[in-house]
Amino acid sequence: MFYLAWRNLAQSRTQFSMGVGGVALALLLMLALDALLAGAGENLVAYINQSGADVFVAQEGVKNMHMAASAITPRDVSLASHAAGVVSASPILYTTSTIKAGGADVLSYIIGFDPDEPLGGPQQVIAGTTALQEDEAIIDETVARSRGLGLGDEVEILGETFTIAGLTEGLTNLVNSVTFIRLRDFQRLSGSDAVSYALLKVKPGYDPGAVAVAITTRNDDEVNALTRPDFAREERQLVQDMSVELLNIMNLAGLLIGLAVTALALYTSTLHKRQEYGVLKAIGAKNWQLYKVVIAQAVLSLTLGAGLAIGLVWLLGLALPLVIPNIALALTGQAVIRVGLAALLIGVIAALAPAWQMARLDPARVFRG
C-alpha cells in the first residue's frame, strides 16, 4: 500500500512537488522566525561568550546587559577581586548610544574597558590593536566598511572625537554594533567613576558558580554575580520572553497553512484516483487498507516537506548574511522537533477528509450500466 502511494505520487510529479513545496514553505514560516529569533539571541550574547570571563558582577537585581541599567562602584569591583578564587576583576562601563560614523548615526553598545586589564575588551581584533590609547576606539568592521572608514579615521562617540585604532567582527547584530573605548575616557565623559559590570577570571580548580554565589551573598555588597553561561542564558532569555507570543502566532499560522496545503493535495489526489480506489474496493480491499494508502501519501509528502523546510532554513542561514550584514539564523533542536510534531499533526488531520472519501466510495459504481 505504501508502494501504491509512492507510485501514485510519482505519477503526478508536478502536483506532488507543488504539494510538498507548499508544505515546506508553510513549515518554513515556523522555522524561519524561530531561527531569526534564535540567531538574534546568539548575536546578543556574542560579547558575553567571547569575553573570556568566568563570572559577571552586576548591580543588585540586574541579570542582563542589553536593555539593562547596571551600576556598581569601584569598591564593589575591588571587593570582588579579593574574593576567594578570583584571579582578576576587570571593570567595564556600558551604555547604549549612537556613534557618528562617516556622517551617519549608528546605534551602538559602547563598552569602556581598561586595556591593561585581562578582560573587558574584545578578545581579538581583525585589524589594528586592543591596546587603546586615549581617545582611541575599536569599532565593528561592518560598520566601518559600510561607512567607508578604516584604521586612523575618526568617529564621534558620546560627543567626542575618537580615532579608530582597531576593528572587530562577530559582535554585532542587526540593530546594534559594539564599540570599545577606554574606560577612563568613558568615565571622563560620563562624569562619574561608577562602572557597569565587573568581569572576573576564576582560578583553576575553583567553581565559578560557587564564586558567584559567594560574591552575591556577601552582606555589604549590593551586587549580583552570575557565571558566564548563566549570564548568557539570561540574555538569550530576554529575546525569547519578548517574542514568545509572536512566535506562537506565527507557528499557528504556519500550522494552519500547512494543513490547508496538505489537505488540498491529498484530497485532490484521492479525488483523481477515486475510480481506481473504487475498483480496489470492489475487488475486495477493506477500508483500512485504503486508509493506509492515504496515510502513506501524507507521511511521504510531509516527511519530504519537513526535510525541505529544514534544508531551506539552513540555506537561508548561509545566503542571507551575504546579502544582509549581521543577520543570523540559528536552527535550534527545539524548532526541528516542533516542526516534526506539526507535520505529524497536519498529517493526521489532513488525511481525515480523504479517508472519509474512501470510506464513502460505493464499490458498486465500478459497473457501468
Partner: protein, 370 residues
C-alpha cells in the same frame, strides 16, 4: 445520476473551499504582519504624542528615545527654563530596565518625572499618580498580564515599590512604561540629579527658530530636535529592527499563496484537459488556449476571493489577538490593503504560468489516448 452529479459538485465545493482558504491564510498572514508593525509604531510614539512637547533636548548625539541612553547635566533644566520664549520645561530621567517577574524577563521603560511638572501618565485606568519615592504607576496591560493590582508590591532593581496607579495607553509589544517620581528613578539608576530628556514647549507667539537658536547658545553640547523628528527616529529604529524579519516572513507567505494557487490551477487544467478528451475535439489547438484561459480565470477569481477573505480574516485575527494579548496593537492600514490585493493578483498570475506551459506543450494526439 443526479445523486452522482450532486456529490461531484459538493466535492468540488470542498476543494474550492480548501483552495480559497489556503490563499486566504497566506494573505491574512501578510496583512497581519504589516498590521502588527503599524500598531507597534503607534504604540511607540504614544508617550511623545501625549506629552506636551514641541522640542526635545537630549544628550549630544542622542536622537531617539528608545535607542540610546541619554544623560544631561543637572543644570540643563534650569538653563533651559531661563531661555526667553520657552513656556514649559519638563525634565524626565528614563531608561530601559528589565524586570524579573515570576522568572520571566519583562522589558520596561522606567520614567522618572516630577508629578507637579509633567511627563507622567496621561490617562489612568485606576488609582492615582505617585506621591512619594516608593510608589509606582504601572501600565494596566502589564499589570494584568503579570497579575498585579493596586496596592501590590513590585520589585524594581531590587527595591520594593507600591503600585498606586494603572496607566492606559502606555504599553507596547516590546515594553511597557513604569512611572516613578524623578528622585526615585535617580536613586534606582544611581544617577543623582541627572536628567535624560527635556521636553520644551514654546510660549504662544514665540518664534521657534529664534528660540531654538537661543537654546543652542545656552545649552552647549546637547541635541536639540523637534519632537516630530524624534518620533520619526524612533520609528526608523524599529523599522531597522523589524524590516528584515518582516520581509522574510512576507516573502515566504507570498510563496506559499502562490504554491497553493499553482496547485489549484494546475489541477484544474489537467482535469479539464482530461474531461475534454472524452468529448469530441475538433480544433484541438484552439480549444487548448480557450481551456487555459478558463482555468486561469478560475485561478484569478480564487485568488481574488482569497484576498478578500484573507483581509477579513486578518481583521478578525487582529481583534482576537488584541483581546487575548492586550499588549499587541493591530492596525489594518487601508493603503496596505491595496498593496496586499495587488500581491494576491500577482500570486494568481504567477501561479498560472506553469499550467500555461504545460498546456502549450501538450501533444494534441495524446489527448485521444486513454
Amino acid at each position: 445520476m443526479t445523486y452522482l452529479a450532486f456529490r461531484n459538485l459538493f466535492q468540488q465545493k470542498f476543494r474550492l473551499a480548501l483552495s480559497i482558504g489556503g490563499v486566504a491564510l497566506a494573505m491574512m498572514l501578510i496583512v497581519l504582519l504589516n498590521s502588527f508593525q503599524s500598531g507597534l509604531f503607534r504604540q511607540v510614539t504614544a508617550y511623545l504624542d501625549h506629552t506636551p512637547v514641541e522640542v526635545v533636548v537630549a544628550q549630544e548625539d542622542v536622537t531617539t528615545m528608545l535607542g540610546a541612553t541619554s544623560l544631561l547635566p543637572a543644570s540643563a533644566a534650569d538653563l533651559a527654563r531661563g531661555v526667553p520664549g520657552i513656556e514649559q520645561v519638563i525634565p524626565i530621567v528614563s531608561r530601559f530596565i528589565i524586570l524579573d517577574i515570576h522568572d520571566k524577563k519583562v522589558v520596561a521603560y522606567l520614567v522618572g518625572y516630577e508629578p507637579k511638572v509633567g511627563g507622567g501618565p496621561w490617562a489612568l485606568e485606576a488609582g492615582r499618580t505617585p506621591q512619594d519615592d516608593r510608589e509606582v504607576v504601572l501600565d494596566w496591560v502589564m499589570a494584568e498580564t503579570h497579575h498585579f493590582g493596586l496596592g501590590d508590591t513590585i520589585e524594581i532593581l531590587d527595591e520594593d515599590f507600591t503600585i498606586v496607579g494603572l496607566s492606559d495607553g502606555t504599553n507596547s509589544w516590546m515594553a511597557s512604561f513604569l512611572f516613578v517620581e524623578k528622585r526615585a528613578a535617580e536613586r534606582l539608576l544611581l544617577t543623582p540629579e541627572a536628567t535624560s530628556f527635556l521636553f520644551l514647549t514654546f510660549e504662544p507667539g514665540a518664534d521657534p527658530a529664534a528660540v531654538e537658536a537661543r537654546l543652542r547658545r545656552r545649552l552647549r553640547e546637547v541635541e536639540i530636535l523637534p519632537v516630530a523628528a524624534f518620533k520619526q527616529n524612533d520609528i526608523a529604529l524599529l523599522v531597522k529592527v523589524f524590516a528584515t524579519p518582516l520581509r522574510l516572513m512576507v516573502a515566504i507567505a507570498f510563496a506559499v499563496g502562490t504554491a497553493i494557487l499553482g496547485m489549484i490551477i494546475y489541477t484544474a487544467t489537467v482535469e479539464r484537459m482530461r474531461d475534454a478528451e472524452r468529448g469530441v475535439l475538433k480544433a484541438v489547438g484552439a480549444k487548448n488556449r480557450h481551456l487555459y484561459w478558463l482555468v486561469t480565470q478560475q485561478g484569478l477569481v480564487t485568488a481574488l476571493l482569497g484576498v478578500i477573505l484573507g483581509i477579513g480574516l486578518a481583521w478578525l485575527a487582529g481583534q482576537g489577538v488584541m483581546r487575548a494579548f492586550p499588549k499587541f496593537l493591530v492596525i489594518l492600514e487601508p493603503g496596505f490593503m491595496l498593496t496586499a490585493a495587488s500581491a494576491g493578483l500577482l500570486m494568481g498570475l504567477l501561479a498560472a504560468l506553469l499550467p500555461a506551459r504545460h498546456v502549450s506543450g501538450l501533444d494534441p494526439a495524446r489527448v485521444f489516448r486513454k
